[in-house]
């Protein structure tokens, strides 16, 4: 418990990866996707990881998000060692502590914008916090979209809603996987700027993976992923 409280303090890392490796396959088909990655991000920090496709950055993100286990090394989130948790506990941790913003829209196609948020409350087995939803939608300037389906939104609007939903559960960590891949430059910039701004305002730790170096300009730190090795740029 003590570790979790400390993690809330500024400059305490929210997410750390130490000596993380990931190997796929075996024998002569063996591929080292990650080769001893050390990484950490603290509250209020917006960190970018850039690299070409196939460099291992998605593997890095899935391991950071507890979606798969590293071959070796330790991943800890808010002081909890992900490797030591059961699948069920890891699922719970993802739900409570991580907000995801994905490349393909991660909105549920058959839920209206407001219901995307209500779903979070339903999964959390609590009453729908309507006023919180309205507040968040207003602060992101998307209140007018509340009763629209994702298919009726532009790409930029969709990512704003996705960012809003990632924040709705008040997570410690935000993982963004190519959040601008489906957007034109102007909208892409706007989305990254929003993400950076909210990260600082709300004291989140944000990791954005992108292949587009221009998107990294608002980051506090930029890492480069190349052939499974991570280095500060």
């Amino acid at each position: 418990m003590a570790a979790m409280i400390n993690a809330k303090d500024a400059n305490m890392p929210v997410l750390t990866l130490s000596k993380v490796t990931k190997t796929f396959g075996s024998g002569h088909t063996e591929v080292d996707a990650l080769k001893g990655v050390d990484f950490s991000v603290s509250r209020g920090e917006f960190v970018s990881v850039i690299g070409p496709s196939g460099s291992g950055k998605s593997t890095f993100l899935t391991i950071a998000g507890g979606l798969q286990s590293p071959t070796s090394g330790v991943v800890s989130l808010d002081g909890a060692d992900l490797g030591a948790l059961s699948d069920a506990k890891r699922t719970r941790l993802r739900f409570e502590k991580i907000g995801f913003v994905l490349q393909r829209s991660n909105l549920v196609p058959y839920l209206k914008v407001g219901e995307q948020f209500a779903l979070v409350d339903k999964v959390a087995k609590r009453g729908v916090r309507s006023s919180n939803i309205d507040e968040l939608l207003t602060s992101l300037d998307i209140a007018a979209l509340k009763d629209k389906y994702p298919r009726d939104l532009s790409g930029g609007e969709r990512q704003r809603v996705a960012i809003g939903r990632a924040l709705f559960n008040d997570p410690s960590l935000i993982l963004a996987d190519e959040p601008t891949a489906s957007l034109d430059s102007d909208h892409a910039y706007a989305v990254v700027k929003l993400l950076a701004k909210l990260t600082r305002e709300q004291g989140k730790a944000t990791v954005m993976v992108t292949h587009d170096e221009r998107m990294a300009q608002w980051s506090d730190r930029i890492y480069r992923m190349e052939d499974g090795s991570l280095s500060v740029k």
Binding site: A33, S53, G54, G56, K57, S58, T59, L61, T62, G65, L67, Q68, A88, T91, R92, L93, R94, F95, E96, I98, F100, L102, Q103, R104, N106, V108, P109, Y110, L111, E115, A118, L119, K122, V123, Y149, D177, E178, V209
Partner: protein, 376 residues
């Protein structure tokens, strides 16, 4: 439930299609059940009308009403709590003629005062030697109180004195008359030495207390034994057994139950396939939801809840429409809306739709959240 209902609202047509199919199958199940009950009732309604508890036939009749031949004397071998709790009944199947009108009928011989004799709703019960009463459905064919008719080989006019409520046996209308008249109709002028040797087809019993059969005087011990002058062994049957052996009843029930069973299995398969295909199309978003920390159970429950909602709604509509249809059917149609039985089939259909939905749970469980991220 949240996801289940929201998705059904979003993909109205898709779910309307699934529901339409389940509705049609359920409607067909109810219709078949109605026809099965109707037909079986047509075969044996006159027997149900007795409200009897058991029937005594000769053992060598192999439980078949018409094949059983005992005598009025055998009535004494059957003891009941009160003598009015047993009634000797005779059956004759043939036709009734009035002028040029001829109808197939089942004629029962039964003492005017016996409990097996139906109460008249119009006119009076039979009392004279050549009196008969007819069921209401014969009135619809042009017969009326006061009419004189001919039945079988009897060389005498018969007079209709009363009408009782519609009923059938062997899917034809029913006529009742006294045992004596029935004997004359069925056996013509052949002489019987005494009343006790006059024939009967069955002894019908109401109530269950104090019912015993005396087989000590039975001299006919095997089917190959001499018939003349021998006394048959008696056998008491409960009504379910007796009715099941009414010609046609059990064969029809088997046919219809087979069809209904098949439809229920088909429903499970249809729902299973539909839900599986729909689930497959949603694996991408399920992967995203799982990545975000939504439990597999939450998603699986929504899939199962969906098939439950789909099942309940379509079966309920089918139930209602089947009942409304039954009101519109002509009286001649052998159809009985047995709402209790339908409710049972309805529950069964809902259960199989849920089972169909359960097939997709495995698919949901196998979606890997890692698919939500990256293209590497």
């Amino acid at each position: 439930m949240f996801l289940a209902l929201k998705e059904m609202r979003y993909s109205k047509w898709r779910y309307a299609l699934v529901m339409g199919v389940i509705f049609l199958v359920s409607y067909m199940v109810f219709m078949m059940s109605g026809l099965a009950t109707g037909l079986s009732s047509g075969h044996k309604k006159a027997i149900d009308d007795w409200n009897a508890s058991s029937v005594v036939l000769t053992e060598d009749a192999n439980k078949v009403f018409g094949a059983s031949q005992l005598t009025r004397g055998d009535l004494d071998r059957v003891s009941t709590a009160s003598s009015s709790d047993k009634s000797g009944v005779g059956l004759y199947q043939g036709s009734v003629t009035k002028g040029s009108t001829k109808e197939n009928i089942s004629l029962f011989g039964s003492d005017a005062s016996a409990f097996t004799t139906p109460a008249v709703t119009q006119g009076t019960n039979y009392s004279g030697k050549y009196d008969i009463t007819i069921s209401q459905n014969l009135v619809d064919e042009g017969f009326a109180i006061g009419d004189t008719v001919r039945i079988g080989n009897l060389d005498h006019d018969l007079t209709i004195t009363g009408i009782f409520k519609s009923t059938t046996y062997s899917v034809v209308p029913v006529i009742y008359t006294s045992l004596d008249t029935w004997t004359s109709i069925k056996y013509g002028t052949q002489p019987f030495n005494e009343d006790a040797s006059k024939p009967l087809n069955a002894v019908v019993i109401r109530g269950t207390s104090g019912v015993t059969i005396d087989n000590s005087t039975a001299t006919r011990q095997s089917a190959t034994a001499e018939r003349t002058g021998s006394t048959a062994k008696l056998q008491k049957l409960d009504m379910a057994t007796f009715v099941n052996n009414v010609p046609g009843v059990s064969a029809e029930a088997l046919t219809f139950n087979g069809m209904i069973g098949l439809l229920v299995v088909i429903t499970a398969a249809i729902v299973g396939i539909f839900m599986y295909v729909i689930t497959l199309q949603k694996t991408a978003i399920f992967g995203v939801m799982k990545a975000e920390g939504v439990r597999t159970g939450f998603i699986a429950r929504s899939v199962v809840a969906q098939s439950f909602v789909v099942g309940v709604a379509s079966v309920a509509i089918a139930y209602l429409l089947a009942w409304l249809s039954s009101l519109a059917f002509p009286a001649a149609m052998p159809f009985v809306a047995d709402l209790g039985k339908w409710a049972l089939y309805g529950v069964l259909l809902v259960v199989v739709t849920v089972v169909g939905g359960l097939f997709s749970v495995r698919t949901v469980a196998r979606v890997d959240p890692i698919t939500a991220m990256g293209e590497e």
